[in-house]
C-alpha cells in the first residue's frame, strides 16, 4: 500500500484551506489512517497552531530539504492521534527554498509508511502553489459561496487542467443555509454550475470552527458540530466510501417557523 497525496488549495486566501487540512487529516486519523500533513506555506506557517502543535516544532521542511535533519525528525506527532504527523513550514526562510521536485521527493519518501499525505497549499498561484500541487494525486479546491472566492477557484481549476493534474474536487466551505434560502448567497448548485467540477463536500458556516482553532483542536472531534460532520463525511469520501450529502436546509430561525406555520414542514 502506498499513500494517497491530497493537496488542498483555493487561489484566494482566507477561504478555509488550513482549517480544511487540519479537519480532514484529523478525521482520517480518527478512522485509523496513518496521516502526514505538510504545511506548504513557507514564511506564513499556520497549520501548526490550528492543529495545536506549535510548541513541539524543532525542525521544519526547509531543514529537511537543506539536510540539517532527517525527514523523521521534522515529523511532529499529534497529541491525540499517534498515527498523525505534521511537517511544519519554515517561518523565516526564503520561500524559494522549496522546489516542486523537493515536494515530490519528500512525498515519495513518506508514501510507503502512510495512508494519506495532506498538503496545505498557500493562497495564490505562485511558487508555493506549484510546490503544493507537484506531488498531488488528488487536488481539493476550497471555495466560499462568494464572487471573489469562486472566481479565484476557477482560475486554479484552469491551471490544474492545463497542468493535467487530474480532476480536482470541490469543497464549498462556509455555506450559510439561511442566506441561501433568502437568495442572498450563491447556492451549492450555483457554485457547481459555475465551476463545472465534481463536488466532494459542502461545509456549513459554524462558529465552532473558530472555537476549535482557538483551542488547537479541530472541530471534527466535536460530534455535535455540523461543520465537523461535513468534514468527517469528506474524509470518508476520500477513503472511497459513498456518503450521502447532508441536508443543509436551515435548522431554525424565522423562515423555518413560517414554514411550520404554513404546514410545509
Amino acid at each position: 500500500m502506498t499513500a494517497q497525496v491530497i493537496t488542498v488549495t483555493s487561489g484566494k486566501g482566507g477561504v478555509g484551506k488550513t482549517t480544511a487540512v487540519a479537519n480532514l487529516a484529523t478525521a482520517l486519523a480518527m478512522d485509523g489512517k496513518r496521516v502526514v500533513c505538510i504545511d506548504g506555506d513557507i514564511g506564513l506557517r499556520n497549520l501548526d497552531v490550528v492543529m495545536g502543535l506549535e510548541n513541539r516544532i524543532v525542525y521544519d521542511i526547509v531543514d529537511v530539504i537543506e539536510g540539517r535533519c532527517k525527514l523523521k525528525q521534522a515529523m511532529i506527532r499529534d497529541k491525540h492521534y499517534p498515527e498523525m504527523y505534521l511537517i511544519p513550514a519554515a517561518q523565516t526562510r526564503d520561500k524559494n527554498a522549496v522546489s516542486p521536485s523537493d515536494m515530490v521527493r519528500i512525498c515519495n519518501d513518506l508514501r510507503p509508511d502512510s495512508d494519506f499525505i495532506v498538503i496545505d497549499s498557500p493562497a495564490g498561484i505562485e511558487r508555493g502553489f506549484r510546490n503544493a500541487i507537484a506531488a498531488a494525486d488528488h487536488v481539493l479546491v476550497v471555495t466560499n459561496p462568494e464572487v471573489s472566492a469562486v472566481r479565484d477557484a476557477d482560475r486554479v481549476v484552469g491551471i490544474l487542467e492545463a497542468e493535467e493534474k487530474g480532476n480536482p474536487s470541490l469543497i464549498i466551505n462556509r455555506l450559510n443555509p439561511t442566506l441561501v434560502k433568502n437568495n442572498d448567497m450563491l447556492s451549492a448548485e450555483d457554485v457547481l454550475d459555475l465551476l463545472g467540477i465534481r463536488l466532494i463536500g459542502i461545509v456549513p458556516e459554524d462558529e465552532n470552527v473558530i472555537i476549535g482553532s482557538n483551542r488547537g483542536t479541530p472541530i471534527v472531534t466535536d460530534g455535535k458540530s455540523r461543520a465537523g460532520q461535513a468534514f468527517r463525511n469528506i474524509a470518508k469520501r476520500l477513503q472511497g466510501v459513498d456518503v450521502p450529502f447532508m441536508d443543509l436546509t436551515p435548522q431554525s430561525g424565522l423562515w423555518n417557523a413560517i414554514q411550520k406555520l404554513a404546514g410545509r414542514k
Binding site: E146, V147, D154, R155, G158, L186, S187, D193, L194, I197
Partner: protein, 83 residues
C-alpha cells in the same frame, strides 16, 4: 434598499460570475470580442449580405467547455434569388 432588490443578490452574483468566468477562461476581453465581431462581419460581408446590427457573437460555456457562438441573420435582399 427594498425587499425585492435585496432578494436578488445571489442571482446577480451568479450572472456576473458567469460573464467574468467566460472572459477569464478565454483570456478574451469584452473589447477584443467586439473587434472579433467587427472582423467577422467584414469577412462575411465580402461574400454575402448581412445586417451588421443583427449579428450576435457570444462566448458560451457548458461545464468547463467554452464555445464561441455566432448568430448571423442574412439580409432579406439575399432571399431575392429564391423569389
Amino acid at each position: 434598499m427594498g425587499f425585492f432588490s435585496r432578494k436578488r443578490s445571489a442571482t446577480s452574483a451568479k450572472e456576473r460570475l458567469q460573464l467574468v468566468l467566460v472572459h477569464d477562461r478565454t483570456d478574451l476581453t469584452p473589447g477584443q470580442l467586439e473587434s472579433l465581431k467587427d472582423d467577422l462581419i467584414k469577412a462575411i460581408s465580402k461574400y454575402i449580405e448581412i445586417d451588421p446590427e443583427a449579428v450576435r457573437i457570444d462566448l458560451e460555456k457548458e461545464g468547463r467547455e467554452q464555445r464561441l457562438v455566432a448568430d448571423i441573420p442574412l439580409k432579406s435582399s439575399s432571399r431575392h434569388r429564391a423569389g
